[in-house]
């Protein structure tokens, strides 16, 4: 019956377009308002409360933020990682981002420029480089745990490629765990970005290169003075996307290091810490406060980067 009522209302409506428009967007808007905006406001309030999901919510003012700041200051004074989990996570994730984002962007550009020539099998290269991006990070990590074992394939390959290389116990050695996670992340995303760069390179008008060749510019100068500047919007886009992904890294660390960050907390991340605050230590208020810190970090880094190098465009 309600359907019938609506249709008669709709037929009688003076402006069908308005009614139709509002009806068609209603479901999408309601869901996104609830799980997006309402949740955000909720997270804002939550960060001022102490709660255990069941009992009474207790207003504690800025105490949750104080907990985070104290954690940071303890970490700066060199306390062990168990007492300063947020600091540990933040330190690791900054190192991780500083490795992953530049390396994957650089690698993607280099591979795209190699592929952007008259070569056979371009589609094959695109497909094989892109393949890791279609597989879940969890599955990828599970496979890499095996490849990273002390007598595993990666050590075997490195011993044969780098002279004098000694096998490393990547996953169980606190000095190498984060690097191992970073390598998996680079493996997983650089190929995807390579495909994006390749498309952007192929969209650069040929006339520009021809004009430069007439002026006597060699391939290296053409690369640095035409390709790179023309790619700039795409580079900014890839870096911003990379920053957003890397700063929130969770899946790889969860599987490769475990929820507690593995040996010495070497694989602990801010995202893992938010999860633990909310679901193991049962402090949703502190988790909310930490998530605002994470938001601030992501927002400022991407904002500053785009301010300096121009806006990322799709």
């Amino acid at each position: 019956m309600p359907l019938f009522k609506f249709s008669s209302f709709y037929e009688k409506a003076r402006n069908k377009e308005i009614v139709a428009g509002l009806v068609l967007i209603s479901f999408a808007v309601i869901l996104n308002m609830v799980f997006g905006y309402f949740a955000m406001i909720f997270a804002f309030f939550l960060s001022f409360f102490k709660w255990d999901y069941i009992g009474q919510m207790q207003f504690v003012g800025l105490k949750n933020f104080q907990i985070v700041l104290r954690d940071l200051s303890r970490g700066l004074h060199g306390t062990s990682y168990i007492l300063a989990p947020f600091y540990t996570g933040l330190k690791n994730i900054l190192i991780y981002t500083a490795i992953v984002v530049p390396v994957q962007t650089f690698l993607a550009i280099v591979l795209a420029s190699f592929a952007n020539q008259k070569i056979k099998g371009q589609q094959f290269f695109k497909v094989s480089y892109f393949l890791p991006a279609t597989t879940s990070a969890v599955i990828v990590s599970l496979i890499f745990i095996w490849l990273f074992m002390k007598n595993g394939f990666i050590n075997y390959a490195l011993v044969h490629v780098i002279p004098g290389f000694q096998p490393i116990d990547w996953i169980n050695d606190r000095r190498y765990l984060l690097l191992a996670i970073a390598l998996v992340a680079i493996w997983g995303t650089s190929g995807h970005f390579m495909v994006s760069f390749l498309a952007a390179m192929q969209a650069i008008p040929k006339e520009i290169y021809e004009a430069a060749m007439l002026d006597g510019a060699g391939p290296i100068r053409r690369f640095f003075f035409i390709t790179i500047p023309m790619l700039r919007p795409m580079i900014v886009y890839v870096v911003v996307l990379g920053l957003i992904g890397a700063l929130q890294m969770f899946d790889l660390a969860w599987v490769m290091a475990g929820a507690n960050g593995g040996p010495g907390g070497a694989g602990y991340t801010v995202a893992l810490d938010i999860y633990n605050e909310a679901f193991t230590r049962i402090r949703p208020g502190v988790a909310a406060a930490k998530s605002w810190f994470l938001f601030a970090i992501i927002f400022t880094t991407t904002y500053l980067f785009q301010k300096k190098y121009g806006r990322a465009i799709r």
């Binding site: 068609l24 996104n32 909720f42 190699f114 070569i119 990070a137």
Partner: protein, 282 residues
């Protein structure tokens, strides 16, 4: 050597370098898949040998058998398929409706609402994670695929993609329909939707990849092992050491990633083009 010969030689060396680099990296990207495919037919004793072996001997299906002997595994496959199905169906239906309305209809507040939705893309999921857990908890839908699906039923990126597509269609056909007395809802079903097949396909594929591979959402909103999806289930099986050998985990990883890999291999031309157009949210 004349300058022309020298130039030709340099060109030839350059082509060789190009192929060496490209093939080398193709091996880097493909090797984990190749290695796990080979190892999934080995015994763990052989798969863990150093130096690595390439030919399974004895050739065994034991790992796959072990996997399916675990009663949970087929359930995980079914749950993942159900979750992906719901997400794909929801996004196709609701994002095409919303995308059409935002692109083609005029109603008060349209642009404000649309930009409000778009700005949600800037919010990291960790900010809304805990509140959404509480909302779903209050709705009594924790540990339920339906509750989990509710969160991803209409993705803003799908709405954006559909809106862009509907905006790119020519105005004339909609004008003609309007003059023939076709109302906005009728023209959505009879004109816009049939024309939108490529965009709907893109939404379906991206949402399938995203939901099939999703981890944090299922990890938090699903609580009992019977209700897990494949990524959560496999990481659970690994952390609980359900098998003493690692090879069933490798076989499970292959089974879990087979649908997305096959889909990608079949559709690679369209997918690569589409991902480049939308900027890709892998």
């Amino acid at each position: 050597m004349t300058p022309k010969e020298k130039e030709r030689l340099i060109k030839r060396i350059w082509i060789v370098i190009t192929y060496v680099v490209l093939i080398g990296f193709a091996l880097v990207y493909l090797m984990p898949f190749i290695r796990s495919l080979v190892a999934s037919f080995m015994t763990w004793a052989q798969a863990s040998q150093y130096p690595p072996k390439w030919i399974p001997s004895p050739f065994t299906l034991e790992n796959y058998e072990k996997l399916f002997r675990l009663e949970l595994f087929p359930k995980w496959v079914r749950n993942t398929a159900l979750y992906s199905g719901l997400i794909v169906a929801g996004n196709i239906l609701f994002s095409s409706m919303a995308g059409y309305a935002f692109a083609r209809l005029r109603f008060p507040g349209r642009d404000v609402i649309f930009s409000a939705l778009l700005s949600l893309l800037m919010i990291p999921m960790f900010v809304t994670l805990v509140p959404n857990y509480i909302i779903i908890y209050k709705l009594g839908l924790i540990d339920n695929i339906l509750g989990l699906s509710l969160l991803g039923l209409v993705n803003v990126s799908s709405i954006f993609l559909m809106r862009q597509y509907f905006m790119s269609l020519s105005n004339e056909i909609f004008e003609a329909a309007r003059l023939d007395g076709c109302g906005p809802i009728k023209s959505f079903f009879y004109i816009a939707l049939p024309l939108a097949k490529p965009a709907l396909g893109a939404v379906a594929v991206y949402q399938f990849l995203g939901s099939w591979n999703a981890f944090i959402g299922p990890l938090i909103f699903l609580r009992t092992p019977e209700h897990f999806t494949l990524p959560v289930g496999l990481s659970f099986a690994f952390q609980r050491a359900m098998w003493t050998e690692y090879t069933p985990i490798i076989a499970g990883s292959l089974v879990a990633s087979a649908p997305t890999i096959l889909l990608f291999l079949i559709l690679n031309k369209y997918l690569i083009r589409g991902i480049v157009i939308t900027g890709g949210k892998g």
